[in-house]
């Protein structure tokens, strides 16, 4: 225990030493952190927010909290020079205080779409002074995505994304959500129609939507007690998905983050959706 803490501390020192020659960067937003790593500048990062969980290389870095509610002094205490901030980072007063303290705060486009991803990669590249690397990564992502979505899917299953936080709170995603977007990109159809955002799930509405597959995040499915618990929720068993026991679970940030792993996530989901 003690040794591992020392190792972690050493790791921080090593990272700090490597980064000392370059800009000290703080990333606010999981997809932004991934992009910085993908552009080969992970060694410049000195702190990340709570939503940054990939790649695992930054596990020893200090965390500055939830990106919408960061603390000005907490962030300044890691002595950053550049903050790559999710569009919704806040509170706004804190962002202003950071800028007043001479920190360069760059707002990175954050929409959960393919266009959003490409804009994000380019913006991160520019902010890091690696515009060319950013443009190259965006171009290669665009090519990968085109290659994946070029082949028509062999089937268009109706999918419901279930956002679970414990068995008591199940929500499904309507249009305009990251889940809706990735279902479409993977060749599926969002079986939930008629509203945007996330809404609590009712048994009847789920039966009416009658999805072929239920999509969930790994942590969400774990929070309700695994697939077996899912099938015992009223209404779920009465759907096509329930009848054929078809549930797909993928990591939150991988599935919904719209980071540089998006092509891989789409390919994997497409594969999983194919009967």
């Amino acid at each position: 225990m003690k040794i591992s803490k020392w190792m972690m501390a050493l790791g921080v020192v090593a990272v700090a030493a490597a980064a000392s020659a370059q800009t000290r960067v703080v990333c606010l937003g999981g997809a932004i952190t991934e992009t910085v790593w993908a552009l080969g500048r992970g060694d410049a990062v000195v702190a990340v927010d709570d939503s940054s969980v990939y790649p695992p290389g930054h596990a020893a870095l200090p965390r500055v909290g939830y990106y919408r509610m960061v603390s000005a002094e907490g962030l300044l205490s890691v002595n950053p020079e550049l903050v790559l901030a999710h569009e919704q980072s806040g509170p706004p007063e804190v962002m202003e205080q950071l800028m007043a303290a001479g920190v360069r705060v760059v707002r990175i486009p954050s929409s959960a779409t393919v266009t959003g991803l490409l804009a994000r990669v380019r913006a991160v590249g520019e902010a890091l002074g690696r515009s060319e690397a950013g443009a190259a990564l965006a171009a290669s992502l665009e090519a990968d995505l085109a290659a994946i979505t070029a082949a028509a899917p062999s089937s268009t299953p109706r999918v419901v994304f279930v956002f679970a936080r414990g068995a008591g709170t199940l929500q499904v995603s309507g249009f305009g959500t990251a889940a809706d977007e990735i279902i479409r990109l993977a060749g599926g159809v969002n079986a939930i129609e008629g509203f945007s955002g996330y809404r609590p799930l009712t048994a009847e509405a789920l039966v009416a939507a009658n999805p072929d597959v239920i999509l969930a995040t790994t942590s969400g499915l774990g929070s309700i007690g695994g697939p077996d618990a899912l099938w015992s929720i009223p209404g779920v068993a009465a759907t096509q998905a329930g009848e054929h026991r078809r549930v797909v679970a993928m990591d939150d940030l991988y599935l919904l983050g719209f980071g540089p792993r998006l092509p891989a996530a789409i390919a994997e989901l497409r594969e999983a959706l194919t009967p």
């Binding site: 702190a47 200090p62 500055v64 909290g65 603390s71 002094e73 205490s77 303290a101 955002g197």
Partner: protein
Amino acid sequence: MKSAALALTTPAPAIIHRRHRLRPRGWWLVPVLSVALLAVLVAALSIGAMPIAPAAVVTALVNAVGIETAWAVSEREALVIAHIRAPRAIMGALAGAALAIGGVLMQALFRNPLADPALVGVSSGAAVAAATVTVIGSTFFADLGWSSPFVLPAAAFVGGWLTVLLTLRLARTAGHTRIEQVLLAGIAINALAGAAIGLLMLIADDAQLREVAFWSFGSLGRADWTSIAWLAVALLPALALYRLVAPWLNALLLGEGEAALLGVPVERIKRGAIIVTCLAVGATVAFTGLIGFVGLVAPHIVRLLAGPDHRVLLPAAGLLGAVLLPLADLFARTVAAPVELPIGLVTALLGAPFFLFLLLRERREVPR
């Protein structure tokens, strides 16, 4: 009238000599708490997530007032002191004072030591307005070109006020505001507000939901000098009127009928106290979100130490609130640095057990 009311504070003949006392029981609390307030403010300025040497703190403060010194302080350190720590400390002191004084006034009006400004709907009204702005208002106000960070506090303040006025109107019959009616109307209004917030949360997206939740935990993280100026103005009537109102509040403890017979303008006191309270607490809630327990704990601690005389209770509870809240904030922003805990969570987490401890200790000392 004032001297007549003063006499009422101790109506029992056995202790009538107290009437002639220049200083009411427990008066020493006021200077002691003033010193404590100073100490807490110094601590709040000196301690934080960013390690800053005491000399740099002093230099930054002196520089901020416009005096040049020979000592060096980095620009970033100066900013942290003058624009992050100082506004938070002062906002915390003002908010703590407002919540505690609001608590005392409401407890006097309702003649119940558990009363709270939230009873008349000021917090729930503000919460509804804040949630409305967060969930459906942000796009609407942005369309009007009002994307200022003051939209939310302004809306919360107005929302709190409208709710209080509605409660008072509902409780008013034939020119009389009946306090039990205020309580009942307040309960109904609070329930309605709860339903409205529930509805808003239903249509909110994930991010907005988080925003509403964070607001309801309370935070001093948004403090800046402009919001402090507004809060100070809102707190002014409470500070200006307390000497005048305190003896009347003492008389009110006897009961409304008795107080009225003794010449206390009960009707004016009741409505005035509610309005002064809601001005101070409404502005506090608007800038800091919901911070619980200070309005209950601060008056109680003072009552345990100094008794129920409002001439001491009002200023001492105000000062104690002003000590406790920056202290809680100091804890909130350092214990998990660089992450910050919501201050409402800290006041409840530390305040509730401490409060229970005090109650238990008091029970042991005064066996009945």
